[in-house]
Structure formats: structure tokens, C-alpha cells
Amino acid sequence: MILYLAIVARGVFPAACVVALLASRIAAPRRAARLVVCGALGAVLAGAVGHEAAFARHAVSELAVALRLAALFFTVLALSLVSAPLARSATGRVVAALLGLAVSALSGFQAMELASERSFTATGVLNTEAIVNAAGVGLGLVVVLLAGVALAHAAYRVHRLADGVLFAVLAVLAVLWCGELMLAALQRDWLEVTTLRVRLVAWATAAAPGVVYALMLAGAGLAIAAFVRRSASAPPVGRVSPEIGLRLLAAHRRGARRWRNLGLACVAMLAVGLTYQDVYASRPPTLSEATRVAPDDAGNIRIGVASVADGNLHRFDFIASDGHRVRFFLINRYDAEHVRLGVVFDTCMICGDKGYIQEGNEIICISCNVHLFRPSIGKPGGCNPVPLDHEVDGDAVVIAANALERGAKYFSEVVEIAVADPVSGAKLLNTKAPYQYEFRGRTFFFESQANYDAFRASPETYAADTVSRLWRVQGHVAKEG
């Protein structure tokens, strides 16, 4: 439910802001305001329907580009509204209305885009999940709508400030649209890929999730500012007695306070839902603590069978010679009477090194949510963890440090350790080394350009005994070869 509330908040709230501020800008009387609200709602729906239609025809990205272009085009036109008396003219209203419609349609489209990765309901028959999710969407739409109306009321009171906010909101949104358009152009080869362009796209993409929070902050600020201003200036009273004047003033204040409270409550509700979703609910599961192991003098790691035979996942980690943190785990595949251990790297050939977690009695791949068939752990294939070479010696499992070294390339996490320059033997930190070179999959670190060049010229001279590391695609070969 909160997921869908958050999706509506993220997708539609920016459009509600723009429409509310525009509506107050063109100083619409009550009837026009109603029209604006209806139009915006219709456009949101049209955008959502458009997304589904485009989805069926594989034309989602084309429609996305078209909508963003339209929004951008009308934004450029509408910027002239902010300062000119054009705002009150018919042309100004048409431009403002078109901008509102474009932004609303885009927002409906984006909300559907966000929702399309989720499953709304597992079946077409009415069920609890579908009702709860639909309630989330409905609640989200109602709250966004109320927030928009409250914002429009606030913007009437402080129109100068509202103009500024509108200008800022449109500018920020335009930057985001530009980023998305540039990404689309780069993907379609309409633009040549350059570092600067990729960087701009990356910035815009990284900033996008935060923009809606900034808009909420701006909306709340506007609501408070409008109340403060309202309290300061008396309502227009005609020729009435001072007593009646006071009562009118009190009534107006009460009204203003109600609008402020409504606006703040709506924005707060959206913000809470969105924050909960972003910070808490979408958090990935975390791996259990790993026991750090180091090889003995013979270059082996020995783990007592009895200590890992209880049926739970026992995670260990090992730091490879170049600082890669290699995780592996041991698990009893059968029951306490039949101890047969699965000894595997904590990584999958398909899903990468996200790892596996234990939930109750199930072993689950974090990346793809596959539940593993426990007796098959240790066999290659599917989403099973990559097997790790080992031997069982009496009551201990013996894993060669070299076997773990070979698997170091499966893992991306690197910890800071002291390494030796293979040429000069000088000690340095792997993360701070000025030069590095990869040989047989292992990274070597150098203190100077000269050492680096010397090593590159003939790596075998300095590192002949390096074990070649395996690439991820070789994961299932590990067992045989």
C-alpha cells in the first residue's frame, strides 16, 4: 500500500506543484480552478493509459521522449509568463494550460513507469492485495490533489514568492527532462557520447530521486509563508463596526490556518510515505556477519565440521593478496545424522556477488530471490553458488588459500591492506598505490612508474608463481579444472 502511495507521490506530486502554481499565476477564479484540477487529473490518467498502450506496442521510450520534449517546449514558452503581463492574457492562459497538461501527462506516465516493475496483483480475481494496493493509489491521488489545492490557495496569497517558486520548480524539472532526453539521444546515437555528456546525464539521474523531496519542502514553505503573510495583513473590510471587523479578521485567520494545516498535513503525509519507502522498505537484505579466516603455515584453512553442521549458513571471508574480500560459506545439505557439507563461494555465476542469505530454513539468492534446493548446494548450475574446491580431512574441512585466491575476481569489494611492490619489494597500501597492473587476474601495485614499466615488460620475472584467477563465466568450470 505504502509502495503505491510512494509511487503516486513521486510521480504526480511535481505535476501537482506545477499545476497549482500555474493556476494561481493565471489568477483563475473558482470555476477555472476547478477546470484546471479536472484537466490535470484527466491528463494524469491519459499519461497512465498512454504508458500502457505504448507498453503493448514496445514504444514506451518513444512516448517518454515525446512527452518530455513537449513539457520542455511549453516550459520555455511559459517562462515568459513569470515576468510579463502576458499571464493575464488569453495566450498566456493557453500556454499555461498546455504546460500543465503536458506535465500532468508526463507525471502519470512516470508513475506508471515506476509501477511497471512491481506486481499490482497476482491474479485478475479481486483479492486483498489488489484492494490494498488500489487503496494506496487512491489515497495517494487524493492527498496529492488536496496538497495541490492547498498550494494553489497559498500561492494566491503570496504571488511574488509563488512566482519565484514556480520559476525554480520549472527550472529544476527542465534540467531533469534535459538529462533524460540527453540519455535517450545518447542511446539512440543522435548525439556523440562524450565524457561531459555522460557526466551531465549521471548528475541529472542521481539528482532525480531527491527533487521530489525538495519540491515538498518548497510546498510546505509556501504554505507557511502564505499563513504568515495572511496574519499580518487584515482582510478587506468595508464600512462595518470595529467589532464585526474583528470577527471577520478572526474568521479569515481561521480559514487561512485551515488551508495551511491542510497543505502541511498532505505534504507531510506524502513525505512520510515516500521516506518510509525509500529509506526503510526498499532496503536490500543484509548479509550475516562473516568470520574472518587466515591460512595456516601450509597455506590451508581448516574449519571443524562439527562447528558448521547445524544446518545454518556459516559465512567466512578471506582477504586475497591484492585486497579483494572473498566470501564463502559452508552449510550442511542434509540433516544432523547425515552431514554432507556444501562448500561454496558466496556468489552466483549469473547474479554476481550480492550473496545468499538464510531466512528461516531457506537459502535465498539476494539478487534474484531464487530459493535454493538445499541438497543441490555445491553443485554448479542455475543460480547456485559457485562451488569451492575443498577436501574433508577427518573432522575438518580443508580449503587451500590458493583456491580462494583463484576466486578473488568474483568479488568486487576491496579492503585496504599493505601490499609489496613486486619489483622493489617496498611496502605500500593497495588503495593508495599510484600504479597498478593486472596479471593473470591479480592486481599488482607499484610505487613508481619505473617499477610499473619493468613489471609490464616481463611480468613472469616477478610473479611467476601467481595462480591465474577465474572469471565469473568460468565459475562452473572450477570444479572440473
Binding site: 480475481v125 479481486l126 486483498t128
Partner: protein, 423 residues
């Protein structure tokens, strides 16, 4: 003041309020009864789709063609085509082979029981060590695939060709029990256990696959294979893939193929086994779900009509109230009440009526659904809690919609007219 006016209104016009509340309650009763039936089945279906395991039925391609006309299956290939028993290990050799936790072949054949008439013999593996291409052995058999089968007595031993299970209802019909001897087309067998599944196995004999093959004279062939797999719950992507996997983009296809959806595993089984068609078995979806799914639109239309007439009832009663309280409204206007404040008065009255009627309807509807269920399905259904807020909210919305028109007429009342009594 707001609350005092509201209370007064309910005290004075109680009869009319009760009447409109009952109108709403009637519609809500219907809505609640239908929602209870629908949500109960929908939840069961959703649970099935979200489970981390599923069974897949593999049949020959010709078998899966649907040629049903008027309820009769006219497929000429029905029961003729078979799969090779030798292909079974191929199923454990697909990309997601580690997720396949059990499989068992089936071959059914009509057998004569001598003077006791005819019966259906289902040949299968009870517990069979299947050699794998990589030299391993996989413990296949019906005991993992059909975990819900309840056997009284013992399961037949694997290599004992003369031991069978007897379905409970067939046993009752024949008057036989554990230890009885039977002759299936002149093959003597001994009943070692009685089977209860709730399905059509209850009226069949379950025997070793080799026996069924010998009787049907199709050595090395099977009619169907059931596969039990660990899967990932269905998502939007897998539903689309199930519909048509060719319509996916390359990236989507890769994600789908590399995720253990039941549709992926079925697809890979079809790739591995020649001439096979693999389909997930959705028990609820294929049974009650299909019935409710078809009725759902009809139910929605009926409920909508009921709520619509309730809204009209509320509207009529509310109009009468507005006319009756015209002088009061005029006075409020004259004293400076804003239109919004007067509207709020009437709309909150309607909302309260809607809420009360809705809750009342929920209670009646829950009872009604129990009655319907007892009559139609012969069992009680659990009342889903979610239906209560759903129906109540719907009732409030209906009451508000009904009050919207009378509330608009308030705006047209001029204080001077209603207070003075004439134009």
C-alpha cells in the same frame, strides 16, 4: 456548533435518516456478500501464484491441444501420444536443474479386474533412483511430487512389481482393504495401502510404472510427467512471458530465462524434451478461480446497480430534507454562514448515513455470504477483513454522491425568499 447542528438533525429527522441508511445498507449487503466470495477465492489464487514452489505437468504436444466442443473433448490424439521414459533424466539437465526437487512419470490404462468389472490403473514411480547423465543418482518418484497424497498402510516398495495402492472410493466400491489380492488383466497384485487425495486418484489403482507399461503394451513410454520445482513467485514479467515469450525484448528475455519462474522452468523443459508440452498446474486458478473470474464482471455490474439505486434513494430523501429545512438554511445564510459550511453540514450527514449503512450492510452481507456458500459450495467461507473497509468506503462514497445534487440546490436558496415564505 457544527456538531450540535448535526446531532439535532439526526434527532429530529431520525425516521428519514434510518430509511436512507437502510437503502445504503441493502446495497452494501449485496456488495459485501459478493466481495466475500470473490476475495476469498482471489486470496487463495494470489497465494498460489506467490508460492515458492509449483508443480508442472509435462504431456505430449498433441495432448495439450484443446479441441473441446460443447464440453466434450474431441481431440483425436487424446491418450494416443506418449513420451519416452528415457527422456526423463533430460528434465534434470535443464538450466534450472538444481531447482527441480522431484519428478514422476504417469501412465494410465484401463484394466479389467476379472469379475469385479473395470478400473483405471495409474502407473508411476513410488521411489526411484534415476541415474543422471553426470553419473549422479536422483531420487525421483511420486512421493515428492504429490506430497498431499495420504496413504493408509504402506507405500509399495520400489522394485516390487506386485504391490499397489488402492484409491479409497474404489476400495469402498469393491469392498477391499489392505492386504487384499487383485488380478489386473491377469497380473496378480497385492494392495499394500489405501490412498486418499481428494482427486480422481481416489477411484483408481496406483501401481508401478512397469506394470502399467506391460498391460498397455507400451514399454518405455509414459503418458505424462509431473515435475515439482522450487520457483520464484510470478511477476508482471513472467505473466507476460507466459502469455507470449516472443513478445519480450532481448533484455527482458534474458532476465526471464535466468530467473526461476515456473514459466521459465516449463519453457526449458519443453526445450529439453522432444515433443513435450509443459504447463504449470494452478489448482485454485483452474478450479474456483476460473468460475469466479467469469462471474466477476456480472457481480460487479449487479453491485454497481444496487449502489446506484441506493444513491438515488439517498438523493431523494436528502432533497426532501433540504426543502424541509430551507428556512433553517436561510437563517444560517443570513447569519453569515458560508456555502462551504452549510454544504459540510449536509455532506457530513450523508457520510454518517453512508458509514452506518455500510457497516450494517457488512454484517448482513457476511451472514448472507455464509448462507450462499453453504447452499452452493456446501462449506463456510472465511470473511475477509479487507471487505469491511472496502464496502464501508463504497457506501460512504455512494451516500455522498447521492447528497451532492441536493447540496447544490442549497446554493440557490435565497435567504429572503425562504425566510419570508414567498417571492
Amino acid at each position: 456548533m457544527f456538531w450540535r447542528l448535526l446531532r439535532q438533525s439526526f434527532l429530529q429527522g431520525a425516521r428519514r435518516k434510518i430509511l436512507s441508511g437502510l437503502t445504503v445498507a441493502l446495497a452494501a449487503t449485496l456488495g459485501m456478500a459478493l466481495a466475500t466470495l470473490s476475495v476469498g477465492v482471489g486470496d487463495k489464487m494470489a497465494q498460489e501464484m506467490r508460492a515458492y514452489g509449483a508443480n508442472i505437468r509435462v504431456v505430449p504436444k498433441g495432448e495439450s491441444l484443446s479441441l473441446a466442443v460443447g464440453g466434450l473433448d474431441l481431440n483425436p490424439l487424446k491418450g494416443r501420444e506418449t513420451l519416452a521414459e528415457a527422456d526423463l533424466p533430460l528434465i534434470k539437465d535443464i538450466f534450472w536443474h538444481n531447482n527441480i526437487i522431484g519428478l514422476s512419470p504417469f501412465l494410465d490404462v484401463q484394466v479389467s479386474l476379472g469379475d469385479k468389472g473395470k478400473a483405471r490403473l495409474i502407473g508411476t514411480w513410488f521411489q526411484h533412483d534415476m541415474p543422471m547423465p553426470d553419473g549422479d543418482v536422483f531420487a525421483a518418484g511420486v512421493r515428492t511430487v504429490a506430497a498431499h497424497w495420504q496413504v493408509e498402510g504402506a507405500w509399495p516398495g520400489e522394485n516390487a512389481e506386485d504391490q499397489v495402492l488402492l484409491g479409497k472410493s474404489l476400495a469402498r466400491r469393491l469392498g477391499l482393504g489392505i492386504g487384499a489380492s487383485l488380478s489386473l488383466d491377469a497380473h496378480p497384485v497385492r494392495v499394500v495401502g489405501l490412498l486418499e487425495t481428494g482427486g480422481d486418484e481416489d477411484s483408481a489403482i496406483i501401481g508401478p510404472l512397469a506394470l502399467a507399461q506391460a498391460i498397455a503394451n507400451v514399454p518405455g513410454r509414459v503418458r505424462a510427467i509431473e515435475v515439482s520445482a522450487l520457483t520464484v513467485p510470478e511477476t508482471e514479467l513472467s505473466l507476460r512471458a507466459r502469455h507470449n515469450s516472443d513478445a519480450l525484448t532481448t533484455a527482458e528475455y534474458d532476465v526471464w530465462y535466468c530467473t526461476a519462474y515456473v514459466s521459465t522452468i516449463a519453457h526449458q523443459i519443453e526445450e529439453a524434451v522432444v515433443n513435450a508440452s509443459a504447463r504449470p498446474i494452478w489448482q485454485v486458478a483452474a478450479g474456483e478461480g476460473a468460475v469466479i473470474g467469469k462471474m466477476q464482471v456480472l457481480m460487479a455490474v449487479v453491485t454497481l446497480a444496487a449502489f446506484l439505486s441506493a444513491a438515488m434513494g439517498v438523493s431523494a430523501l436528502m432533497t426532501a430534507t433540504v426543502v424541509e429545512r430551507a428556512r433553517e438554511i436561510g437563517l444560517m445564510k443570513a447569519l453569515g454562514a458560508s456555502l462551504a459550511e452549510i454544504n459540510a453540514q449536509f455532506l457530513s450527514e450523508a457520510a454518517a448515513i453512508g458509514a452506518a449503512g455500510g457497516l450494517l450492510g457488512c454484517g448482513f452481507g457476511a451472514l448472507l455470504s455464509q448462507g450462499i456458500s453453504a447452499m452452493v459450495f456446501g462449506q463456510s467461507v472465511p470473511v475477509p477483513w479487507i471487505a469491511v473497509p472496502l464496502v464501508t468506503v463504497a457506501a460512504i462514497v455512494v451516500a455522498l454522491a447521492g447528497a451532492a445534487y441536493p447540496a447544490r440546490t442549497i446554493a440557490r436558496l435565497a435567504p429572503v425568499e425562504v425566510l419570508y415564505g414567498r417571492k
